[in-house]
Assembly symmetry: C3
Homo-oligomer: 537 residues x 3
């Protein structure tokens, strides 16, 4: 039983729905209104889109927690509640556009000034803007001499102020919207499903249930990028040029799980950007940027939004190969239960095959970008080095997982799983997820053991970094989490972004040092069990 | 006895003196010369202001250590010693102003060039400067066509070169000085008392006594801001515009206890500042800044120096509610001895009541600032989320403190307090602080146990992050320190400054991970005690 | 035996060769071609310079590992392999300079545009450039109206494209090259020997042998600065102005072992640089920079490339006193085996004497730089504080080392060295290094114990931060590594660069907190040994 319990990986609902979505979907059409959840099953919409205000959460475990207050702004589709202290209905009904600015010039002057300096206020102020505006006018059949508060914020049907989501932006900016929604094609991790990722993990609801809802504020703030455009193009300028700057990414893309700000920022690419940024021309669309002239080094956007064959796409995840760095590759030998990843749950995407046809094609698109400045061979050699780094990082993680699994198999993990709190939300998992969905063995483990077994490894084992329950996880389980999740991901991004210190000192070296702790803890647990047995007899 | 010893919180002398000061004070008058210690008792001045050169330290434990050499520059009022290798007396006596520049153009050319480009060299170079200079001329009755080295550095009474302190600056810049001194009104943490905070804690003197004086260099460099203006307005430009930039704050306001640089810098506010800083107009006084136009996002100064009703104050602590984030709030239930905080020392400020009349008023002033750009409701919702975050962070800290206290109560903390070094400077504490001051039980604990008891929790328990003595603290006590002091404060500032990664990955998540360590260590200590008992019988 | 094993310090080969080199060397002459390894013994060249492509590694343990693929770019002298997919021979033979740009304008446009904007494309575009070019023309006897791809990349002898190293650059930029090579005079750590440092340590080869070659990517990327100039003057602009900016240093000079980016960047010097960088004039040679006017605060280069008496040198290590901060000073008392540092290996440089004649002279050159802006006394006081900080940091490290050594001496380190993997590459150490070289006792320890003994302290003990083998090192050994290597070095640079938070919160405070862990771990190991003895009898 112990063996079976090890390394269970769930994240299953989402994987399932991704597949389901892939099967059901019809390509979004320009003549249908923009819809972030188009083509998805109805239950999906009922879980993520339908507005419930502050009554229940979102995701499969929505009944187990209520949203935090700010979620009305982070996830307005589902949680926004119109203001009660001031009813804008009459202004909307009478279309008193003039009053917005009149009042808000006093009430929130910063916003009004932002807008005055934006392309929305003057959509034809430059030849370039004019040509883009003309396109939008053609597509929408509207004359756009000014895009006004009213156009985005007035829900004329409900006669309410609304919090605009990407769907509102997409009415005019349809190409960008459609590009963005295509993130679903490659599956998570991506932006468009980040709220799903946020709420599907059982520890999120469990933490909320245990009173740590506001600690998750941090999660929610980034993952709110799922349905809002102002994460990159900030209010109320909504500038394309701003979105092209690396800084647009970094408020989210930093920290242990994706240290992009740190690794790009301190790489030679990032350092040169910093030294010369005033000479970078961010007003040019990416497709017209001349490397070495408009940009001396690449930005996040230049590499990640390059699609292929000279084309750019408003979506940075299409070329991803290693993705977040958490899914083990097929291309190495495992000694731990990672060899059975994803642990019999057949419906989840399998290990990554770095050498799949799809990934080989993606790599060739990466080389197209690199070759703007580097020799083909250098770029190819560099990226192969990254693969090698990842193979050995996953190998090291495998060795560490084996140490922990052996402890469990030998019955010396302390405290024993039977004497500690169950896996987070075990009651909910059993209720919300079916045997067909989880695979029989995993479903049965939750059903019969009620979550009273250790769960180690990607993805489900990561709960230990998010929630501590009574003696669960134990300290060695969390050491291992730090190794494979925290440090491996630092090493990954450090290497991928050519930042040597992040690669080594925040990645590979701490992996080794954490492995020291894991070995020492395992040795101590075995020793203590031996002494205890001798002393207690 | 053990229970009594737990969580003793001292910081008492200072609290006492704050109150004392509040009672004694008369409002500073413009016709008295600027005095940082005006209205304070005489013993206060004898401890913090009276110059003793390098003979003794400062603060209540001044006799237990001598200052480090640099303290003559960090704390010139008390420790400055005029240069011996070159006597400037004759130049001062004859008022040879010309010689300063003549010699220093060679000796320290950078300083002279800084000054030449400063408002001091040309106090009437712009209409704005002229008008400010005219005010100062009126207030001081002096004509100011140039503010010269001599004016600040020459102590004409003693015929010595002096190291100017805020009191010298305050002769002309009296409004700024008076605003700054008002920090005493709200009590610590603040700038004007930061040197007091530095030297009042017993571990500072103990560390010095044990030979770690220069490790405290770091403490001293920030806390020297207590009496010098060049911490924000650097020599020898002393520019107001420089002091309005966020960078002016960050050399001190970073790191685990107040990660302001990190959290603001990587928030959307900070990122937009960084992207657009060349368009920010720092020459304007804060009160004339037009949000969205002169500043697209707020700076440290804009929010924290906003007083209320449109007024700004040269003092960033007046609106503080959660302050440093270390004092527990009244508004939650405690299970540990935190419920008795501050542990019977009645003279120290009690728990923070977030919903006190004063704090509700402060919150309304915060909302005034936020509403320059955000809706009232958004701002209010955001700040309430911060409160919720803090409530749950303190709740988690309480749970962790309970784990440690239960260990102590059950007699399984190892090594036992009786077998390790006493609490830092226990001899000094007993001598310098009275029963009336500490409260009888705490005073008696120090008196009878000679510091041989564990001290856990805010504020006194934090000694473990500053000094390790023989087996004191033990490792679980320091784990708890990391949780409540280091990680909670990261989570606090990450949330307060809307930087999600700091809030989560450097705050809430590490709190949880540290709680894992604490539970595991507690479980091990109990197990070991059990085995030991069985084996040793 | 145990005692003897402690704290063995090897790094011996390199030390030996440094001395050897010092003995053998003849000063580089302008009329000999630039040679990075001039004056070194033949075996040296055979280990570090002679091209072997991808067949073997470099350094004394070169036979134990093959290089990683990228090493052909990091260390081209030894590992570069010409491209096979495209033979440039015919273009080189016919000197078809025109074709380079014609093709690469398409193939790698960024590079071509970089070059077009460089001084190489237009070496006479300004009066200043013209005068420098005229000098080079005079020295080389060549007319330089354009420095073309061909001039650096075409190996006309071998008719191959080459990867230019410093020796190629040195043909024209001889003074810079000669200055750089002078780094050997002061010994490691320096730039010119950084590849040697990389590959001489036994754990590098051992890690490679165990499959962690690509984890060392991070090491290799920085240490490749040994023979290439584009680490600071990036391709293909090769700008002197770029190399004068602090950012040029930071991709390497960050992280736990030399947190220069962090400590300078967040010091007042660095912050003012950041605030005012657009007013810094980096086009001026360092020797013509006017402090306070061209630079308001110093840059890395301004202080570290200042040689003495107003002269600057293209080499930042000449004035170093504390160097990397790892070598213990002579000037304090030790209780651990640090007192015998370097552990009887007489051929390695001894402890640092801060007050040696040489170091006193170096300090006076530092004071010359500081005095551009600061008073002599302030600068002297500050730097003496740094010394004091370092004395106490080394004292603390000594105390911690004593705790670990006492454990070993008392036979309670667990697991026992006899039961764990040997010291990395013990087989190779014994084979490649002679008794004369290691000293008899150390050589014998490796010979007879086959690496089965604990190695604690600088320098060899640091292996634990780079490689975990089976139970080697144990966790307390790595705690100590973190204390003396990681945290001490943070404290050092934080103090040296006047960044108080780095000094304290990333340096002194974590040293104390790590000491807590070490004491607790030692106490636990003793307790466990006692219980085990009682229980097992």
């Amino acid at each position: 039983m112990k063996k079976l319990g090890l390394g269970i990986c769930l994240s299953a609902t989402l994987a399932f729905t991704s597949l389901a979505w892939a099967a059901d979907q019809t390509p979004p059409k320009k003549d249908t209104p923009p819809d972030l959840y188009e083509g998805l099953p109805d239950w999906y919409r009922a879980t993520y889109k339908d507005n419930v205000g502050m009554n229940e959460g979102s995701g499969p475990f929505k009944d187990y927690f209520k949203p935090q207050m700010l979620d009305m702004y982070w996830q307005p589709n589902r949680h926004y509640v119109p203001m009660e202290n001031f009813d804008h209905a009459i202004f909307i009904e009478k279309e008193r556009r003039d009053l917005c600015v009149t009042c808000h010039e006093e009430a929130t002057p910063g916003v009004v000034r932002d807008w005055r300096e934006s392309g929305h206020k003057n959509p034809k102020s430059t030849p370039y803007l004019s040509s883009r505006t003309a396109e939008i006018e053609k597509n929408t059949g509207r004359i756009l001499d000014e895009v006004h508060c009213f156009d985005c914020h007035a829900d004329t049907k409900k006669k309410q102020i609304r919090m605009p989501t990407g769907e509102v932006c997409g009415e005019c900016h349809r190409k960008q919207f459609d590009d963005f929604v295509r993130e679903r094609e490659v599956g998570r991790p991506n932006h468009v499903q980040s709220w799903e990722a946020n709420t599907i993990v059982p520890w999120y609801a469990e933490a909320a249930r245990r009173g740590y809802l506001y600690g998750q504020h941090g999660c929610d703030m980034c993952h709110s990028g799922a349905e809002k455009c102002d994460v990159c193009h900030t209010r109320h300028k909504f500038s394309a040029a701003e979105g092209r700057q690396p800084e647009a990414c970094i408020t989210c893309h930093m920290g242990p799980d994706h240290p992009d700000a740190e690794s790009y920022g301190e790489s030679k690419h990032g350092v040169i950007y910093h030294q010369e940024e005033e000479h970078f021309d961010f007003t040019r669309p990416l497709s017209e940027v001349r490397p070495g002239k408009d940009y001396r080094t690449p930005t996040c956007q230049y590499c990640h939004m390059y699609e292929k064959h000279g084309r750019f796409i408003h979506n940075p995840v299409m070329k991803g190969i290693w993705r977040m760095g958490t899914i083990p590759p097929k291309n190495i030998e495992y000694t731990s239960s990672l060899k059975d990843y994803p642990y019999g749950i057949k419906i989840i995407g399998d290990k990554i095959d770095i050498y799949s046809e799809e990934n080989i094609a993606k790599r060739s698109y990466w080389l197209e970008v690199c070759a703007k400045c580097h020799s083909d061979r250098f770029a190819d050699t560099y990226l192969k080095s990254l693969d090698q780094f990842m193979f050995q990082a996953h190998t090291l993680a495998d060795q560490a997982q084996k140490v922990v699994e052996d402890l469990i198999a030998d019955g010396v993990l302390y405290p024993d799983a039977s004497k500690r709190d169950p896996y987070p939300l075990s009651d909910g998992i059993e209720k919300m997820l079916s045997p067909a969905f989880l695979g029989e063995p995993v479903y049965n483990a939750f059903k019969t053991l009620k979550g009273k077994f250790p769960v180690v490894g990607p993805i489900l084992g990561v709960y230990g970094m998010f929630l501590q329950q009574q003696d669960n996880p134990s300290t060695i389980e969390n050491m291992y989490n730090r190794l494979w999740f925290w440090y491996k991901l630092q090493g990954y991004k450090g290497t991928a972004h050519a930042q040597q210190d992040v690669s080594w000192w925040w990645g590979q070296a701490p992996m080794m040092m954490e492995f020291t702790k894991i070995q020492a803890e395992a040795a101590r647990l075995r020793r203590e069990a031996g002494i205890e047995k001798a002393a207690m007899k």
